[in-house]
C-alpha cells in the first residue's frame, strides 16, 4: 500500500487526506462547519440529499480504494467490492436526481469527507470491511428506515422510494462484509482481531470528532428486519 497523506481533524484525530473534489464544493473537516437548517424545511431536505450524494460518493471511493490497496485479497471478495462500486454510483445518481428535482445543485452546501478519512486510515482490509460495511452501512439501514418515514411524512414519496431501493443494496454490502470477515478469520484469528481493534478505534475517533453539541438527540431505532437479513446481530 502506498504512503498516504493525512490531515488533522477535531481534537487532533489523524485522518486520511480527502479524495478529490470539484472546486464548486466547499469541503470542511469539522462537523461543526456543516450547514444545519430546521428539520423538514426545503433547505434541510436539500441539505440531506446533498449529504447523501457525498456519502454515496465516499462509499464508492472507499470500496475503490480498497480494490486498489489490496490486490492480494481473495478474488470473490474483490468482486463484491467491485459490485459495491457500481451500486454506490447508482445511489449517488438517484440522490443527485432528487436533489435537482428539489431545485438543489452540486455544491449548494458544505460537505465533509469524514467517512473516507476514518476508514481509509486503516491499513488492512478486515478493518475497512468492519468499519465501512459492518458499521457504517449497517447504521445507514437504521437511518434510511427512519428516512423513508420522514420523507413520506414530508409528502415526497419519490425520495422515500429511492431510499427504500438504496437500502436493498446496503443490506447486501453489510452482508458480504459480515460473511467475508467470518471467512477471513477461519484459520487466521488475526483478521478478526484487526476488525475488533478497528471497531474499538472507531469509537474513540467518533467521540473525538463529534462536537459535544452535535451528539445524537435521540436514539435511532434499530432496523431489526434488514439487519437480520444481512446476517447481523440486532
Amino acid at each position: 500500500m502506498e504512503t498516504i497523506g493525512t490531515v488533522i481533524g477535531r481534537n487532533g484525530v489523524v485522518l486520511r487526506a480527502g479524495p478529490a473534489r470539484e472546486a464548486c464544493f466547499t469541503v470542511v473537516t469539522d462537523q461543526a462547519e456543516m450547514a444545519k437548517h430546521p428539520d423538514g424545511s426545503l433547505l434541510s431536505r436539500r441539505e440531506q440529499l446533498h449529504g447523501d450524494v457525498n456519502a454515496e460518493i465516499q462509499s464508492l471511493e472507499i470500496a475503490a480504494q480498497s480494490l486498489a490497496d489490496f490486490p492480494d485479497a481473495p478474488w470473490e471478495l474483490r468482486l463484491e467490492l467491485a459490485r459495491q462500486c457500481w451500486d454506490e454510483t447508482r445511489h449517488a445518481q438517484v440522490f443527485l436526481r432528487r436533489l435537482l428535482a428539489l431545485d438543489g445543485y452540486k455544491g449548494e452546501f458544505p460537505i465533509i469527507n469524514q467517512d473516507w478519512g476514518v476508514v481509509c486510515m486503516f491499513d488492512n482490509l478486515p478493518a475497512r470491511l468492519a468499519v465501512q460495511n459492518r458499521i457504517f452501512e449497517a447504521l445507514s439501514l437504521d437511518v434510511f428506515k427512519e428516512g423513508v418515514e420522514a420523507w413520506t411524512g414530508w409528502g415526497d414519496p419519490e425520495t422515500a422510494e429511492v431510499i427504500e431501493g438504496v437500502m436493498v443494496d446496503e443490506i447486501r454490502h453489510a452482508a458480504f462484509a459480515n460473511e467475508w470477515l467470518r471467512r477471513l478469520s477461519v484459520g487466521n484469528p488475526s483478521a478478526m482481531l484487526k476488525a475488533v481493534a478497528a471497531m474499538s478505534r472507531l469509537k474513540s475517533m467518533a467521540q473525538a470528532l463529534t462536537p459535544p453539541w452535535m451528539k445524537m438527540e435521540h436514539e435511532i431505532p434499530s432496523n431489526v428486519e434488514d439487519k437480520r437479513h444481512a446476517g447481523l446481530a440486532t
Binding site: 479524495p19 478529490a20 475503490a64
Partner: protein, 186 residues
C-alpha cells in the same frame, strides 16, 4: 489452423490479467478524479471490468488452467498500461482509456474470435461477445460523459496519438507459457 486448447488458455488468462488491471486502474482513479460525473462513470466501469475478469477466470479453469488463472501480457503492454494508470489529468485519463486502451482490447478480442473454431470454443466466444457488447456501452457512456461535461473532452494530443500507435503495434500481447511464467493477479 485454429488455436489449440493450450493456446486458447493462454489468451483467456492474458485477457483476464488485463481486465483485472483495468479494474484496478479505474479503482485507483476514482478517488483522485475531482469531477463527480466522471467518478460515477469510472466507478460503474470498475464493475464491468471485474465481471469480464470473472467470466474469463472461470473459463480459464474450463480450459484446464487453475480457476482465475492470469497470465502477464508482453512487457511492453504492461508498461503501456502502467503509463496510462499514472496519468493524472481527467481528460487525458478518459481519452487514453476509451479512445485507445479499450478499442485496442476490442481489436484483440475480435482477432481472438477470428483464430478459433467458434463452435468448438463456443463458451469463450460467448464471453467475448458479451465483453464486446459491454465495451461498446462503456464507449457510449464515455461519449455521453464528454457531451455532459465538455471540460473533460480531450483535445487531440500527440501523446494520445503516440499511445494509439503503440497500442496498435502491440496487437498480439499474449504471454505464451513456456516463454513467460504465469503471474497470478487478483
Amino acid at each position: 489452423m485454429y488455436l489449440n486448447v493450450k493456446q486458447r488458455g493462454d489468451y483467456v488468462a492474458t485477457f483476464r490479467w488485463i481486465e483485472v488491471r483495468l479494474m484496478e486502474m479505474l479503482a485507483a482513479w476514482v478517488p483522485t478524479t475531482p469531477e463527480l460525473e466522471v467518478k460515477l462513470v469510472f466507478g460503474a466501469h470498475i464493475w464491468e471490468a471485474a465481471q469480464h475478469a470473472d467470466a474469463l477466470g472461470r473459463r480459464a479453469n474450463e480450459l484446464r488452467l487453475p480457476l482465475h488463472d492470469s497470465l502477464e501480457p508482453a512487457r511492453a503492454y504492461v508498461e503501456l498500461l502502467a503509463e496510462v494508470g499514472a496519468v493524472t489529468d481527467t481528460a487525458t485519463r478518459i481519452a487514453a482509456l476509451y479512445d485507445s486502451i479499450l478499442p485496442g482490447m476490442d481489436a484483440r478480442y475480435r482477432h481472438y474470435v477470428d483464430q478459433v473454431d467458434v463452435l468448438l470454443d463456443g463458451p469463450t466466444v460467448r464471453i467475448v461477445e458479451r465483453i464486446l457488447n459491454d465495451t461498446a456501452r462503456m464507449a457510449r457512456e464515455s461519449q455521453e460523459l464528454r457531451e455532459e461535461v465538455p471540460a473533460v473532452k480531450s483535445t487531440e494530443s500527440k501523446w494520445l496519438e503516440a499511445l494509439r500507435e503503440r497500442d496498435t503495434r502491440l496487437r498480439d500481447v499474449v504471454g505464451h507459457r513456456g516463454m513467460t511464467p504465469a503471474v497470478p493477479v487478483g
